[in-house]
Structure formats: C-alpha cells, structure tokens
C-alpha cells in the first residue's frame, strides 16, 4: 500500500519508468535504421495510451481509498462552509445529544463501571453482606457486622485476606478551629488486601492496629495536597482527632478511594481508633458497625467462599438469631450499585443506581432525537442537491460512491458535534454531576481516555445513523424523473421518510415530557408530605465521632457526651435568636432506638408491617420545639425531667390507636425492657412523626430524658429559631462551637435539609427527565421548523401558482402548518403509547402518582403540540408572503 505522503515520489518514478520504456523502444528502432522522428512516433504508438496505462498501474498500488476519502473530506468541508446555518443546526443538535451521553457516561462510569483505582485484581475483592433473620418477615441484608463477627470469619480457607473498615465523619481539632473530616478506621490487613501502595511513608501494620496502639494515620492524596499543602515532610505531623493526636505515617496514592467511588480524607488503625470513634466496647459488643471485605483465593467462586464463610460464622454463633445468619458475597464493583442495607434476603439495586441507569437511558433517547433531527436536516439538504446527485448518478458515479460521500459529510458533522459535546459535558454537565456524584469527584476529566473513546464511539455511531438514512434514500434517486422535474421533490416516499423522522422525534420527546411530568409530580408529593413536625425555622445540631462516644448508662449516671449536649442546650436556649430548643436521643431521619416492650392490657404488641416500636428520650421542651402537637393528655414538664420523678411516657397517635383500640390510652402502663420493670404511665398522646418517605407508620413513644429510664445518650439538639432572626443558622453554629473551649465540630443544619437526601432520587428523576425532555423539545422544534421551512421553499412555485389563482395567505399557512402537524400528531400518538409503557416501567420509582396520570399526559401533549404549531407557523407565514409573480418567474 502506498501512503499518501509517498504517492508523489511514486508518481515521478512511474513517469520515469514509462519514459525509459519509450526511450529504449525508439533507440532500438533507431538502431534498425528508422529516422529519429519515426522511431519516437512508433514507440509511442506501440506503447498505447500513456495516461491510461499509468492510471491502471496506479490502481495496483493500493491505498487509493485514502485519496478518495481525502477528496470526500475536502468536498464535505467545502460544502459545509458554504452552508453555515445548516452546519450549525446539525452540529448543535448532535452536540446536545452526544454531550448528554458523554455526561451520563462520565457519571455512570464513576458510579458503577470504572474499576476502583489502585486496587489490584478487583474482581477477587468481595464485599460481605450479612443476611440476618430476626423472625418471620424480619429478614435484613446489609453490610454491617460486629467486630466479634469479623473475627469469627478469620481463617476461612477461601479468603486470602479479610479486612474491616468503618467510615465516620469526625471533628478535626476542637473549639473554634474544629472542622469536619471523613475518616475511615481500617484493619492493618485493609491496604494489603486491596493491593495498594503508599506514595509516601507506609500503611498500617499489626503493631499499629491494636488496642492502645500508637495513634498513627494515613492521609489521602487530596487531603495531603489540599489541607497540608503537599508538604513533602508531612510524615510525622500530627492530627488531633478525638482523644488522640494521630501521627501521619503515610500518604495514599492519588485517586485511591478504597473500593467505593468516594473515599475518606484520613485512614486510622481500626483497633486503636475504635474505642474513640465508636464506643469503648466496640471491639467486643455485638452491635454491627463495621464493613467487611475479603479477597478470594484465586480460583474460588464467590458462592463457594460464601458457603464456607456462613459455615464458619454459624459455628461460632453466640446469639440465637446468629444461627440462621447467612453470609453473601458481592464483588466490590457490583456492590457500588447495591443498597448497603435493606429488608429482604439479598442486596438489591439501590434507588440511586436505578435512577442513574434510567437517566442514562434518557440520554440515549435524546441522542436518538438528535440523530433523527440531523438525518432530517441532511435529507432536506440532500434533496435540494437532488439535481446534482441525479446528474452524477447519470454520469456513472456508483451508488456506493455517493453514499460514501454523504457519510463522510455526516461524519464530519458528527466529529464537530462530538468535539462540541465535550464542551457541553464540561459546562452543562457540571450541574448533573454535582447532583449524581456529590463530593469532589463530581469534577470531570475531559482527557480521561475512557470518556474520549466513548464520546468518539457515540459520535461515529450518531454520524452513521444520521447520515446513513438520507444517504441510502437519496442515492436511490430516480435519475430521469429528477432531471425532468428540475430537482423538485417529486416522490412521495421521501416526504414520508421526513414525516417518519419527525414523528420519531416527537414521539421520543413526548415520552420524555411525560416522564418529567410524573417525576415532577412525585417530587411535589414527596416535598409536601406531612412529616408530622413543623420544619420551618427548625434547626438540628449534632456532633459525631471521636469524643462523642456512645456511652450507654443506666440508672442516672450522666455520661460526658450527654452532659456536653445538655450544657450546650442551656447555652443556646439563652441565645436571643432561639425561640426554643430541646435535646433528643434519636436523630430524626438518622437513628432510632427500640427496646423490649410490654404494655398493660395486652399480651403482645400488634404487628405493624414495617415497624417495631421505637422510643425517644427527650428534654422538656421537645414537642413544642419540634412542632409535634400533643393531641390528648399532656406533654412533659420540668417536674417530669427529674431523676426519681413518677415514671411517665407520651405515645404516638398510631401507637395509641393500635395498642389500645377504643380505649383511653391515658393511664395505661408501658413496661420498658422486660416484664419485671415498673409501670411507666402514659400521660399524653402526641401527633405521629413520619419516620421516612416510604415508611408512613411508626409506633413511637417518648420518655423524659432526665429520668434515665433508657440507656442511650443524647444524639442531637433541635432548635427552633425566631422567625425574625436573620442568619440564625450561622449564629447558632457559632454560638455552639464557641460555647466551650474543646467542643468538637458542631454540624448545624435546617432539619428540612436533612430530608433533601431522602428526596434525591425524585429530585434527580424530575430534573433529568425535565432537562432532557426540554432538550429533546428544543431539538424537535428545531427540526420541525427546518423541515417546514424546507417544504415551503420547495413548493414556492406551487404556492405562487395557487396564489395567482386566488388562494389567500391564510390558506397557504393552513396548508404548510397542516403538513408539519400531521407527522407531529402521528408522533404524539406513538409517543403516548411509548409513555404508557415507560410509566409502567418506572412505576416503582414514582411516589403517590399513578403511572397513567391524565393531567400529566394532557399537559405534555398540549405543550408539545403548541410548540410544534409555533415551529411550523413561523416558516409558513413567510411562505404566505410569497409574491406569485416572483415565484413563477424564478423558473
């Protein structure tokens, strides 16, 4: 094969070879006695047509296709430069379509597809799930295990290595300097199991990872660069976390985040840090809190390893329900898309992963709309060049040749679209990524090879799709008919193809719009749910992590953590920006506690589908602060909050209704923690608080914290600010943070903001469907406009004739609009069917919205048809202004 850059030399050589041939032939004739003129003439004659000989010889060289492609490329570029409007329209619609896909691929890749960085042979790294069976209908499967459970799994032959980790947000520093950081406490086996090496210093060994070991820490690359200024002498520097001051001994490599897409700032040795991070008894308590990873011995299947692990686990079972616990394994890659914990016997796809996949599918739909639109524009452009195409076909150009040339044109457009798509992904996609990938990983690296390859592949596909359809159609042009008709669109089939492409765009757009409508309505329902408390002006303040250890106390002795909360409570109650404040043991939407409970008047508690009775121990002003109404009896008073006061409780409405139907709950008895405990008298009934979005019923009861009837310490403060107080949140944070010298970082948030993460999947669905739906609508409107404009331009003469015969402008507009609306209406019909199918598929993701929602359907169709009408009327009105004589003279 001859590469283009060597072709010039080769041409010269061929010339010389031919010249040599002629020279030798004529010299021989000269030698035979012919005259020089005769000899040269005869040699040339004998040789034949030199140009032709050279031409056929050249064809033997191969690599001609490169020349052809180059020629096509030049031709395409020239043509596109001459039609800037057309080019811009196609590139723009392809850029939007491809950009949507690049963005979504970037997100899905980070979230689900990309193997974890720096992890060796990640397929063999498995996450352990414990399927715990607490009784009929109460099977939970989750990643959390207790430390004794982790130790019991040591020595399973199928596990080459086993490691545990615990992720927590903690306070780095104290008092005014305190700031929150994410730490992960890991066993010494953690880093070797993953196969990662430090870029600086070392990771942990068994000497670090033990109770009362020397406090050491490994920092992430990001933390090292960002917070420690990339100091090369960082080893030996110290980090005050909780009770300890940790010495930095290593820096993890860049982008290392453990097996998950996002990772902590700091790693600490688990056995050393556990008592401080979790509880003094964390290493012996049966409370599940750590996550467990295993690296399988090569050649072992996860199923076999899981069976071995289950066996080892049950052999050492200590609690009754542990004898039925089953260990399940999922690769860390797969586990990214799974719920960390759920009811049921196996881990399921998380809603976030589900929604992200759906959004990926949406992006694909937008791409299809963009391709259909580009195809339509290319078709219209091709049709206006019919005469040229027909002429070339007539002159013997092959059909394949014409198709190739048109494909080159569309591929050039797609390449430009792909390039622009990267910019779309960079700018427009930032919001989407921030949504789907909160945290620092939401920034996109455009030079990431996987992303570039994906974008190039999608662009090529889009180019072939958008160019192939019109190329195939146009190259089949009826030469004679086209030449006779003067290049006007004579065949109905091509009109049909245009209408079909339009209809497809409209159908997909409608589907997206209906999806958007369903999600928006779901989101509205979620946001306007009655959560049972008054979220306005309600703040929550809590401190987590080291120093805030869970110290369970019974019988009145105050633990330091609760004492700190109570001091902060008194401090903040005096603040002028604060109307009321209260302390609480359970954190709304985060944690709740339950106890063995008996009640008077019943042998057993009624079973409620999704709920066991949960309690909360609260300070005196809790109900008023949270905005939970007391519907019967009374709430707690200062007299109740005293150790040794008469034992009292408030129950929730649902609790009262289910436990004592048709009876007065006031005066009934609760027996906390077992049969021999004393009666706790019910003195009031409070309104129900909705525990979550999917869970609507909660069996709740409350006791005064000050009586120490239950052991958990205080978890948070609820603070109701005065409506008049400006910037109350910042003021409360500052006041709490500086109340005492060594307060750990206090997180103060609007309680309503704590709900936002729970709304995430609906917010996401609504935003993405709406964004992509509108994008598709814009592209489809562009397409309708362009096609109508083209149709009108093609029929200028016909319109001229009609108007010459007395047709009114109105009639012409009606004609042109009808031409555009017919495919739009057909598309709307198709879209309606598709939307119904889609709605059934996303039913599980909706909230209190029927999949067939007449209002959503009506609004979507109405919006679509109105936009279609506008897009068609604009060019049609221009057609109506055609001067009949000018139009006729044109020919």
């Amino acid at each position: 094969m001859i590469w283009p850059w060597r072709r010039r030399d080769r041409e010269a050589a061929l010339d010389e070879e031919v010249q040599g041939h002629l020279a030798m032939a004529s010299r021989e004739r000269l030698a035979r006695g012919e005259s020089p003129a005769d000899a040269a003439y005869a040699a040339r004659r004998e040789f034949g047509n030199r140009t032709l000989v050279k031409e056929v010889t050249r064809q033997m060289w191969g690599g001609l296709w490169i020349d052809d492609w180059r020629r096509d490329l030049r031709y395409a570029l020239r043509g596109l430069r001459r039609a800037p409007g057309f080019t811009a329209a196609v590139v723009l619609s392809l850029a939007l379509g491809i950009g949507a896909n690049t963005t979504m691929f970037g997100v899905l890749d980070t979230l689900l597809l990309k193997p974890p960085a720096h992890v060796r042979d990640p397929g063999r790294v498995q996450r352990l799930y414990l399927q715990r069976n607490y009784g009929p209908g109460a099977i939970f499967t989750g990643i959390q295990a207790s430390f004794p459970e982790y130790e019991r799994l040591q020595g399973v032959p199928a596990f080459q290595a086993l490691a545990a980790s615990f992720l927590a947000e903690v306070s780095l520093g104290r008092g005014a300097d305190a700031r929150p950081v994410d730490v992960s406490a890991v066993t010494a086996s953690y880093f070797p199991l993953l196969g990662v090496r430090p870029v600086l210093g070392r990771f942990f060994d068994a000497m670090d990872d033990r109770v009362d070991g020397a406090p050491v820490a490994v920092v992430s690359w990001r933390f090292w660069r960002g917070q420690l200024h990339g100091d090369p002498g960082v080893l030996g520097r110290t980090l005050p976390i909780g009770r300890f001051t940790y010495t930095i001994v290593g820096v993890a490599p860049r982008d290392f985040t453990g097996p998950d897409p996002t990772g902590p700032d700091i790693w600490l040795p688990l056995r050393t840090a556990a008592p401080d991070l979790n509880s003094p008894r964390a290493l012996t308590s049966p409370m599940p809190w750590i996550e467990v990873l295993a690296r399988l011995v090569p050649g072992t299947t996860p199923a076999a390893a899981a069976a071995q692990a289950t066996l080892a686990y049950r052999r050492g079972a200590q609690l009754p329900y542990e004898k039925t616990t089953t260990i399940l394994l999922r690769s860390v890659q797969e586990a990214r898309g799974l719920n960390p914990i759920q009811r049921g016997d196996r881990p399921r796809t998380s809603t976030d992963a589900d929604v992200a996949l759906w959004v990926g599918a949406l992006a694909l739909a937008v791409l299809l709309v963009a391709c259909a639109n580009a195809a339509n524009l290319l078709l219209a452009r091709g049709l206006s060049r019919r005469r040229e195409l027909a002429l070339r076909l007539g002159l013997g150009a092959g059909r394949a040749r014409l198709i190739r040339q048109m494909l080159v044109e569309s591929l050039v457009l797609a390449a430009a679209g792909g390039g622009a798509a990267l910019l779309v992904a960079l700018w427009g996609g930032a919001a989407i990524r921030a949504f789907l990938l909160p945290g620092p990983s939401s920034s996109i690296n455009l030079l990431e090879p996987r992303l570039l390859v994906f974008t190039a592949a999608v662009a090529t596909l889009a180019g072939l799709l958008a160019g192939g359809i019109p190329a195939w159609h146009l190259s089949g042009a009826d030469v004679a008919a086209s030449l006779r008709s003067g290049g006007r669109d004579v065949t109905a089939t091509r009109g049909r193809l245009r209408s079909t492409l339009l209809a497809i765009q409209v159908a997909l757009t409608l589907t997206l719009l209906v999806g958007a409508g369903l999600f928006v309505r779901s989101l509205r329902n979620v946001e306007t749910l009655d959560y049972g408390l008054d979220l306005q002006h309600l703040l929550i303040a809590d401190m987590r992590g080291p120093g805030m250890t869970m110290t369970f106390t019974l019988g009145g002795e105050e633990d330091p953590r609760s004492a700190l909360y109570l001091r902060l409570l008194r401090h903040i109650q005096a603040n002028p920006a604060v109307a009321r404040a209260a302390a609480s043991v359970g954190t709304p939407y985060y944690s709740s506690y339950s106890l063995t409970l008996r009640v008077s008047g019943r042998d057993s508690l009624p079973a409620v589908a999704s709920s066991v009775p949960t309690f909360n121990a609260v300070s005196v002003d809790y109900f008023a602060t949270a905005g939970i109404p007391i519907v019967r009896g009374r709430g707690f008073t200062d007299a109740d909050e005293v150790l040794g006061a008469p034992r009292v409780a408030v129950v929730g409405q649902t609790f009262a209704r289910l436990v004592w139907p048709n009876r007065n709950p006031i005066g009934q008895c609760l027996f906390l923690g077992g049969a021999d405990s004393a009666c706790v008298e019910v003195i009031g009934v409070a309104g129900d608080r909705r525990p979550g979005i999917r869970e609507d019923v909660a069996l709740a009861y409350y006791v005064p914290y000050g009586q120490h009837l239950v052991s958990p310490p205080i978890d948070c403060l609820l603070i109701r600010t005065r409506p008049s107080a400006e910037g109350a949140l910042g003021e409360v944070q500052r006041a709490l943070q500086t109340a005492e010298a060594d307060v750990p970082y206090v997180r103060v948030e609007r309680l309503a903001d704590r709900l936002v993460p729970l709304w995430q999947s609906w917010r996401l669905g609504a935003t993405m469907f709406a964004a992509f739906g509108l994008l598709a609508l814009v592209i489809a409107a562009l397409g309708l406009y362009a096609v109508t404009a083209y149709g009108v331009a093609q029929r200028t003469q016909e319109i001229g004739v009609r108007m010459a015969f007395g047709a009114q402008g109105r009639d012409v507009v009606r004609l042109a609009v009808w031409q555009a609306l017919r495919p739009a209406t057909a598309g709307a019909g198709m879209g309606l069917l598709a939307a119904l199918v889609l709605a059934r598929a996303i039913r599980a993701l909706l909230f209190q919205v029927q999949p067939i929602d007449p209002a959503t359907l009506a609004i979507s169709i109405g919006l679509l048809l109105i936009i279609a009408m506008i897009a068609a009327i604009m060019p049609a009105r221009r057609a109506a202004r055609v001067d009949p004589m000018a139009a006729l003279r044109c020919e």
């Binding site: 070879e17 040599g20 041939h21 010299r27 034949g48 056929v56 010889t57 033997m60 191969g62």
Partner: protein
C-alpha cells in the same frame, strides 16, 4: 509504422497467465519492463505480444505481492531503468503455478483431441 510480423490472431491471455509468464521470464535474470516485452515476444515466436496496459499493472501488482522486487539501475546507455528481480517467494509461486499450468494444459489438450476427431 505497421509491422509485417504482427501475430496472426491476438490471443487473449487467461487471467493470471500474464503473471505466470512474467515470473517465468524473470527466472533468467533481472529485466526492465521493456526487456520483458521483448523477451516474451521473442520467446513466443511473435505470437504473444504483451500490451503495456497489461504489463505495467501486472508488474506493479506482482511487486506489491512481493513476488518480484524492483530497483533502479543504470543501463548500458547510462539511463536510469527500473529493473525487476524474482524474489524467493516469487520463485516458489512460479514453481507452484507452473505445475498447475502443466496440469491445466494437459487437461485442455486431452479435451481438445477427441472433439477434433469427432468433427466431420
């Protein structure tokens, strides 16, 4: 100028036959394009006259298939000429083609004989 010794009838060469003839010609040593035409003509008693429009494409095709190699040499009258040489691969190809050709011509000869006899 018209030549008296033109072949009586122009024989259309079978597909691939020209390649075989070229390889066979180059067996006796390197030749340039013009030399090959002369040799073929002489070797076939002026029956086969190779058209340049077939020869040069064939030479370049064989070169691309690496059956022959080309290099520039200076001829006796100090002219640069492109000279073709049979490669080792071409030699093997020639051996294979020649045995096929022998079989083919024997078969065709066998077919022709009885037919010729049955003709009235």
């Amino acid at each position: 100028m018209a030549r008296k010794d033109r072949p009586l009838s122009r024989i259309e060469l079978l597909q691939g036959t020209l390649d075989l003839i070229i390889l066979q010609t180059l067996r006796w040593g390197p030749r340039h394009g013009y030399g090959i035409t002369q040799l073929i003509r002489a070797g076939s008693n002026n029956v086969l006259q190779v058209d340049t429009g077939s020869l040069y494409p064939a030479l370049h095709r064989l070169e691309r298939r690496k059956l022959i190699a080309a290099e520039w040499q200076i001829s006796e009258n100090s002219q640069r000429v492109r000279v073709y040489t049979l490669t080792e691969r071409g030699r093997r190809q020639l051996a294979a083609e020649r045995s096929r050709w022998t079989q083919l011509s024997a078969a065709i000869a066998g077919l022709m004989k009885p037919q010729a006899e049955s003709e009235p």
